[in-house]
Symmetry: C2
Subunit: 215 residues, 2 copies
């Protein structure tokens, strides 16, 4: 989902034919950007930092549905209300464009609607891949899949600076912090990765990770 955007302009580019100017805003670590059920007044693009989108069970358990890195669009809804919540994982800058703006553009330009369709379709494919991980993979495989996926989205695919905590990773993968931590330790023991610090991952043997994830 990351793309070759010029992150210095306050625009959201939906496709080759549609760019809309928005407002830039800053959110501090763990700040709520929008909540499930709220009016979906804006759509968002990450400029810097990282964002998590999530849903909750009635008794408060959290499932993180995705992490959004610079260039990624999130908060796109077709209905009136947000169907999930979004928070800043780390301090981040975000561009916001009014839904009314986007709806207007889409009603005037069929290509714009097609771009939205492509975007939604891509998110659907991502969600389905995630379901396979959650439903049919063991703990180690999930963490390996997470690292491989994230490495593919970062600029440098050799070293990752994780913006999110172990708790975030656990809630993304349907595990506990302890299990995630143990998986990291085991990958380090087997020289698949190095961990100079807990948030800094060096991909030492990516093919071993690829093999471990058993996709």
């Amino acid at each position: 989902m990351q793309a070759a955007f010029d992150t210095s302009t306050d625009m959201i580019t939906f496709g080759p034919q549609l760019s809309l100017r928005g407002v830039r805003m800053h959110f501090g670590r763990n700040a709520e950007i929008f909540g499930e059920g709220e009016d979906a007044e804006y759509i968002y693009r990450v400029v810097s930092g990282a964002v998590r989108t999530m849903r909750f069970t009635a008794d408060g358990r959290r499932q993180i549905l995705g992490f959004h890195l610079p260039g990624d669009i999130f908060g796109l809804e077709i209905g009136d209300a947000h169907t999930l919540s979004a928070e800043a994982v780390a301090n981040c800058d975000v561009v916001m464009v009014r839904r009314s703006c986007l709806d207007k553009a889409a009603s005037e330009d069929p290509a714009a609607t097609r771009a939205l369709l492509a975007l939604t379709s891509e998110q659907l494919s991502t969600a389905r891949a995630h379901a396979l991980v959650l439903g049919r993979k063991g703990a180690g495989e999930r963490v390996a899949a997470f690292l491989v996926e994230l490495a593919g989205r970062f600029v440098s695919k050799q070293e990752l600076d994780l913006p999110m905590s172990r708790a975030d990773i656990a809630d993304y993968l349907g595990l506990t912090i302890e299990t995630v931590s143990r998986a990291f330790s085991e990958f380090e023991r087997e020289h698949a990765i190095a961990l100079p610090s807990s948030r800094h991952v060096v991909m030492r043997n990516p093919s071993a990770l690829m093999h471990y994830q058993a996709a």
Copy 2:
């Protein structure tokens, strides 16, 4: 996703403004309708019976992503290739419409593209709800959620005739057949459901199930 279609005509209705005539076809139990990676030449609507869509891990583990009942549309892709596989759960009739037909209609009528967007968006929401179940719910909660979900899609919400096997349910919920079977037995013991036969479920105490699923 089930709707008030007239299932006697060989049409797929995408929205208030778009209906396309297709070809009706029959698939026997467990027959493949399309496979992941194949050319997405058609889109499909269930007329009778039931269909499962799924993905596989490299070593053959299966994750069922959704069950499709009469009226439901499946196999809709934006790219060229199918990103998942589809099989008949039971003997079923399906209407197939050529992608080229749909693409032509969508390029002529912006409302058609909007209908496709709404459809894709709804599937995305369903997939995300499923991720919450897979990531953050225990075995009993998953089975309860499955029954509640399915009951909401059937015509009669009091009695369900399950078209799918315990193995299908297990692969949908990320469990084993034995665990699914035990959950059914426990719900019966607690008088939440009755099981006159293994595929016939009578909702005896729906609110108990609703409570058990802890959504």
